[in-house]
């Protein structure tokens, strides 16, 4: 494969890399940038473990090729935590509501939740489920994840009110 140069931002940091055009964003994150929080569960777009935001849209790093990253702003789980690496309000809500078991799906769910709340998502259970519908969890049965999202919305609204 021919090589290309691409420049993009990850968690507000600039990168320029040279790579083959169909190399997966997932491999770029994990192998080149050593950002290990984005997980590979299936590699085919099914499970959502590799969810990130690209220019604000929820996207799957396992099926996003390098060629499409030019000029893009990428947000990963590492960019969600508070500055000191402490859990953000969404992440804390997940902890408090028991939304985490094995944790392998968790970064993906946190990203999907972040996107949902950023877009002004409401407490409506069906809407929440639609927003998380591309993410699989085999441990929790989803109930506590939905609780976590609802709790995060409450905390988000509290923050906004202040």
């Amino acid at each position: 494969m021919n090589k290309i140069k691409v420049s993009f931002k990850v968690n507000n940091k600039d990168y320029e890399i040279e790579t083959t055009p169909l190399r997966r964003l997932l491999d770029i994150l994990r192998e080149d940038l050593k950002l290990m929080g984005t997980k590979e569960g299936c590699g085919e777009g099914e499970c959502g473990a590799c969810s990130v935001l690209i220019d604000g849209e929820l996207s799957l790093a396992c099926i996003t090729p390098a060629t499409q990253l030019e000029g893009k702003e990428i947000l990963t789980i590492e960019g969600i935590s508070d500055k000191d690496g402490e859990p953000s309000y969404i992440q804390k809500a997940f902890i408090d509501k028991g939304a985490v078991q094995c944790g392998f799906c968790t970064p993906g769910f946190v990203m999907a939740t972040h996107k949902y709340i950023k877009d002004g998502g409401s407490n409506d259970e069906t809407k929440i489920k639609e927003a998380l519908s591309g993410n699989f969890c085999r441990c929790t049965g989803y109930a506590k994840i939905v609780d976590g999202v609802k709790e995060a919305i409450v905390r988000h609204n509290d923050k906004e009110a202040k």
């Binding site: 494969m1 021919n2 290309i4 055009p21 169909l22 997966r24 590699g43 085919e44 777009g45 099914e46 959502g48 969810s51 849209e57 929820l58 996207s59 799957l60 099926i63 996003t64 090729p65 060629t67 499409q68 030019e70 999907a112 996107k115 489920k129 639609e130 927003a131 998380l132 519908s133 591309g134 993410n135 699989f136």
Partner: protein, 272 residues
């Protein structure tokens, strides 16, 4: 050897397309292309990345009689669009059934149309809404009806030097809906689906995963308003339109019976 060309403008794109008559793969959302290349299903090696053109080919607007969806609009954007929500709820419903929210954020409408899967979820409703596609090349535009776009299994009315630029949906006061029966309620591949749009004694019908390619159910449409049709009658009529297959996800028999049930139930409903 895989090669990816990255045109920065439409002009550059058409220069590439006009230079050599090749059956390029257009990388739009990549949700079909990337997994297919990985699994070795997609053997074509010449790709053109459309991401630089995305801005110009994304969005929804209207003219006097149509709503126009630009080809690289994602299903996540489609779901949020007010015009589409107001005029075409059946299409919105279908767009929410494409994979899950992750896939919807990436997948484009043109990709769904050109991938031409019998199970593609946006197509039955678009077919019943009488959508058209605009094909753009260096020679200009040509507009064709979506129902004429599909000629056989993965055999499409599009030339090597063309891309889809718009999907045109005429506004109408038809009642429309889309019913999907899938392997599960999200991230599911359609086992069988039915879309319809009707007004008075006019109806447009289309089914997913029921034939080798997406199409309208013309024979059934024609006889749909006859009196006193039975379930058995529809079984016979539908055989003219569809011939679903057995595969890993379901049986042809199941698909056919469910489609028959859905059509017959609609018939009973509209007879009232």
């Amino acid at each position: 050897m895989i090669s990816v060309l990255r045109p920065k403008t439409t002009k550059e794109l058409f220069e590439i397309l006009d230079k050599e008559d090749k059956n390029y793969l257009f990388l739009a959302g990549g949700t079909d292309i990337m997994p297919s290349i990985k699994k070795g299903i997609e053997k074509r090696e010449d790709l053109i990345d459309l991401s630089f053109l995305k801005k110009g080919f994304s969005g929804v607007y209207r003219d006097k009689t149509n709503i126009i969806v630009k080809s690289l609009t994602t299903f996540a954007k489609i779901q949020k669009d007010e015009l589409l929500n107001k005029h075409f709820p059946s299409f919105i419903k279908a767009s929410k059934l494409i994979g899950g929210y992750t896939i919807q954020g990436m997948a484009t409408i043109a990709g769904n149309i050109v991938n031409a899967s019998p199970a593609a979820d946006s197509l039955p409703s678009l077919l019943t809404l009488n959508a058209k596609v605009t094909l753009l090349s260096s020679n200009g535009e040509r507009i064709i009806e979506l129902k004429d776009f599909y000629k056989g299994y993965k055999n499409l009315e599009i030339k090597n030097n063309e891309i889809i630029s718009n999907i045109i949906i005429p506004t109408s006061d038809y009642q429309a809906d889309f019913i999907e029966v899938g392997t599960r309620k999200a991230m599911s591949i359609t086992k069988v689906s039915l879309a319809y749009a009707y007004k008075d004694k006019n109806i447009f019908l289309s089914a997913g995963s029921a034939f080798a390619y997406p199409k309208r159910l013309f024979a059934t449409e024609k006889r749909f308003f006859e009196k006193d049709l039975t379930k058995k009658d529809f079984e016979i009529i539908l055989k003219e339109d569809v011939s679903p297959l057995d595969d890993i996800r379901s049986s042809g028999n199941y698909r056919f019976n469910v489609l028959r049930n859905l059509v017959f139930s609609l018939y009973q409903e509209l007879q009232k």
